[in-house]
């Protein structure tokens, strides 16, 4: 199967090459990667060009949702069977790529999410943030009946039919939880596999306390609205 790792990167000049090397070293052999440079204001682009990396250069900043969607469009155009989202900030560990792919290869899942909370190892995020994630997890369970623990995990693999779906329509504002809800409402089979994540290795995180609360309120509203507006698709059991 052709597998593409989509690596969204915004101002990751310090981490991006490490991430690429990690994917090439620890990932399965046939795997290919694509970095999405979301109009970074630092030297990310020249770093990528000098390394002759495989990257897309967005002419305007689209945010994480629009950036990742560009990767799905690429995967669709070049006929990939599996696409994996993998953060470019050094938090994700490429040794888990094979674990993410396996359930899809066995035909047991449409979407596989790398979850920090299944075995509770590695970087677990702070208590308050955990509370927020658990709340969103419960909300998504309520809205579409799918139980996912680590709803904000940016490490996820999807199969060909989800690539097609996400290439056409992908959540823009709060893509991690919203994409799970969208997949759940579409009747996709969602599986979580245990992974460990690291703390950021360099660069600046985009999250701070005030923004986190604001984020929670906005995401919850967006999820509820999404459910009310688009509802559940007719479920086909097999």
């Amino acid at each position: 199967m052709k597998v593409l790792v989509i690596v969204p990167a915004y101002n990751e000049e310090q981490n991006i090459l490490k991430t690429i090397r990690d994917i090439q070293k620890s990932g399965p052999e046939s795997i290919q990667y694509l970095v999405i440079n979301d109009c970074s204001t630092d030297k990310t682009k020249s770093v990528l060009r000098q390394a002759e990396a495989n990257y897309l250069d967005l002419p305007i900043n689209l945010g994480i949702g629009g950036g990742v969607q560009t990767g799905y469009r690429y995967a669709l155009e070049y006929g990939y069977d599996i696409a994996i989202q993998f953060d470019g900030d050094g938090q994700h560990d490429a040794q888990y790529l094979q674990d993410l792919i396996a359930p899809i290869e066995r035909g047991e899942a449409d979407v596989v999410i790398g979850s920090r909370f299944l075995e509770k190892e590695g970087f677990q995020s702070t208590g308050l943030r955990r509370l927020g994630i658990n709340f969103l997890s419960g909300l998504i369970h309520l809205l579409c009946g799918v139980k996912v623990r680590d709803v904000t995990s940016g490490m996820r693999a999807v199969n060909r039919s989800m690539i097609e779906r996400f290439a056409a329509d992908y959540a823009q504002d709060y893509p991690e939880p919203e994409a799970i809800l969208a997949a759940g409402l579409a009747g996709a089979k969602i599986v979580e596999v245990p992974v460990q994540m690291r703390e950021r290795q360099g660069g600046v995180s985009s999250i701070n306390p005030v923004r986190s609360v604001y984020y929670m309120i906005k995401v919850s509203l967006a999820l509820i609205l999404f459910r009310l507006m688009y509802g559940r698709e007719a479920k086909n059991d097999q």
Partner: protein, 118 residues
Amino acid sequence: MISRTLQIVMLFAVAVYFVLLLLLLKKRSLHLKYTLLWIFSGILMLVLAVFPHLLDWFAALIGIYEPTNALFSLIFFCVIMILMSLTAIVSKLNEKNKQLAQVVALLEQRVRELEKEK
């Protein structure tokens, strides 16, 4: 019944409003498609300025004591409709803009790969 003074002011204001609208249209700084709501609102105000009794009838109908307040709520309604249509237009534009950026990025990568092969 609204006062004669207000009626005259309204007529004058609507006239200025339409002149401005037509000027912008003529200069092509407004798309006709996006101006329809403005034109409808203007026509509504014009009708009310010429036949102020309509305002009395409308105020009584929806339980407003003062016809002038009915006039304000109508204007407010028009403004909200125009704002909503603006938000819809911006959202559509945003989506199209995003798609364009994505296609450009995909093409740019393709060109780069082709140049490498040469």
